[in-house]
Amino acid sequence: MAATLVPQISTSRVKRTRVPFRRATKVSLKSSLLWSAAFGLVILSSSISYKSLYPTPSSRKMLQSVFSSNVATNSLFGPAYHLDQIAGFTVFKSFFTLIIIGAIWAIFLSSKALRGEEENLTWEHVIAGTTTLAWATLQVIIGLIDAVVSMWALITVFVYLGSLQSHLGFSFLQCAFFALAISSTPLLFISFGALASQLFTERKTVNIALGWLLGASYALRLVGDSGIGLHWLDYLSPIGWVELLHPMIGPKPIYLLLILVCSGLCLALSVAMASKRDLGQSLLGTKAPSRISPKYLSSSLAFSYKLISTNLFSWLISISATALILARVAESVGSTITGSSVKTVLERIGAQGSGSNLFLGLSFVILAMLFAFMLLGQVLVMRAEESTGHLDALLSTPVSRLRWLGGRVMVLMASEALVGLICILVIWIVLATENLGQGFTSVLLSIANIMPPGILVAGCAIFVFGWFPTKTSVVGYGILAWSMMVEIIAGLGKSSQFLVDTSIFHQVSPYPAASINWKSAVIMTGIGVVGTLLGAYRFNSRDIDPT
């Protein structure tokens, strides 16, 4: 008798699949490794630069005296403690930036791994196997926690080894607790992400909800640290809990309990909710579709704007807020630069003037980075339109490829102009109230000065989109990541001039602390424009590639 190929039906306990865990680990570990390395570099860069920028006890004391009582910087970046020591300065300079980046990373990671996988129907296959929605959720959560633990371990090792190498004097325990404090924000926001993924049906809604939570959390602790007797607000804010850990000097591990209990509760609740709901559903259901004004559906150009409007609004808020913060602290931070070796370093690259001018020059370079990210994001939306097949539907109507691409480029330029204009107004108003001596024309020129890197990145990305569409994201982010890495390496000490020149941000002069390098600006803009034209030329004749 022929043996049957159909397995016998088993009534015994079935071994559950571990596919969700493996998949979550694979996806999250990769980005965890990259971010850990970047975080480690930022921490070491802060520590090493402190040694060279504030070499004498008097300059360190001055730094301490200026910032310890500065309400503005204390509210924005957390209270400054022990700035006369490398450890204190390292925490002050890097901690807040890293925990905010860590939170954003965790938001995108958790919403993708939990709600995103469900939304794109990948989980249909998984749940049809030997597992349940609750088990799969639990496995993904464990996979994501794996990534956070790896981040903790990697940052610890990276910073400790760097500290030994550069004689920074950090103990292993100090490094481990600092890394733990940084990693605790991703842990918190992964647990919030897990919970939000049970509450909302769309990944976009999960991200928006978590974005608001992060913003509210930051705002609460900002008020708490503003010195008006509302310090207790820190206890209501997840970012405040992380701040209370006080890493490096005078650590307070007791607040870890708050973080662990809150994360544990959210994660347990997420699994419990997953066990109660149907696949593809959520506890709060799908929100009613929003009304879209018919004018946004009237042409491909209007629709192009509609597609990026949410993204543009987020960038508008982020860049304007950054501009506001930088302008607001320019005077106080500038006063610490005056008389320190930071000024000497900046003078070497042609930056001159008062401390606030020098700080403003550096701040505008930071804004240049944000503008470049914003423009690249819009080019990547074009590629996403193609890879999802939406472009097939659009280009099978009487819309020419050049009209579509031209419309997108117009929207891109208009959004840069709009965000630029808002920044000009915000910075000008703040600087005018602070009497920092920067007129409208000066602020206008400062913003005009930081546009070329973004134009260059967008132009290069459009070029790649035209010729090698599947590589658009890699090349675009590659240029930005490389440039930022070079800036960090350059901040660590002496670097090869050739290497430093490869960073597009190094080509931006720190105006108003230095005169505008029009030659670089024209070259970068030219590369951007030529890249766009060549990309458009190729896009007009190439195959549309919905892969």
């Binding site: 579709p289 939406h390 539907a393 099978s396 009487p398 819309v399």
Partner: protein, 296 residues
Amino acid sequence: MENNSEIAIECKDLSKTYGKTVALDHLSIQIKKGQIAGYLGPNGAGKTTTIRLLLGLVKPTSGSAAIFGLDSKIEKVAIHENLAYVPGESNLWPDLTGAQTLDLLANLRGHSDDAYRKELIERFKLDTSRKFRTYSKGNKQKVALIGALMARSSLLILDEPTAGLDPLMEVEFRGCIHEARENGQTVFLSSHILSEVEALCDQVYILREGKLIESGNLTELKHLSSSEIAIQFKDNVPDISTIRGVTLLSSGHSHLRFKFNGDFNELLKQISNFPVISFFSHEPSLEELFVSLYGK
């Protein structure tokens, strides 16, 4: 030679290769205006590639494709003025509702029959207030179908248009295509649902591994395959083994069952001296034809 103004779609030696893979191999077809042309082939035969070439979404490696006399590679926009397209997989904008998607498509095309759109929404029983991402596969397909049909374009290019539709909606779809024919619209229907092609199409093109292997109207194509014949005689059976095109399946004292793909006159002449009680002839269905072609 056909008058060019009567031709809706014309491919001449049209080829497309991706690296070493030949997706379409020297395809030459002509589809007249007002015809419903079925484009058949198994998965990967090159049906979607042909459609993307016709739409100008990809460019040919060699040869040319023209719609209403306009080159697909050069005059894409002018061509798109006169056609509506339903993709095999309806990937439209997930955050738009069904109604917003239809509005957008109508605005992009620049023309739409609003009364017909309303009628189609009712006939296909589509709730247009929901977001596209929340639709089932069949409902997504309905949005794409209504979007194409409401334009009343001169040419409809439909790539697997009924994928995901339930049988009732398939009947509705067929009704719409018949109406399109009555309105003088040309329809290019890519499908592997043979009953659909059999019910709708005047002309059929069959593709295998990127090559056109058969074309013609259904009657012509059916003759390519054997009919199955069963005859019950009153007494003895004649010897038909000498007739060209006969493949004997079974025979008895007074009956014969055989496949026949030859000259019926010759067959009838041969059996005319033998009294017949019953004669059954079963024409091959398109499905049988398809299987016989791909079984080769």
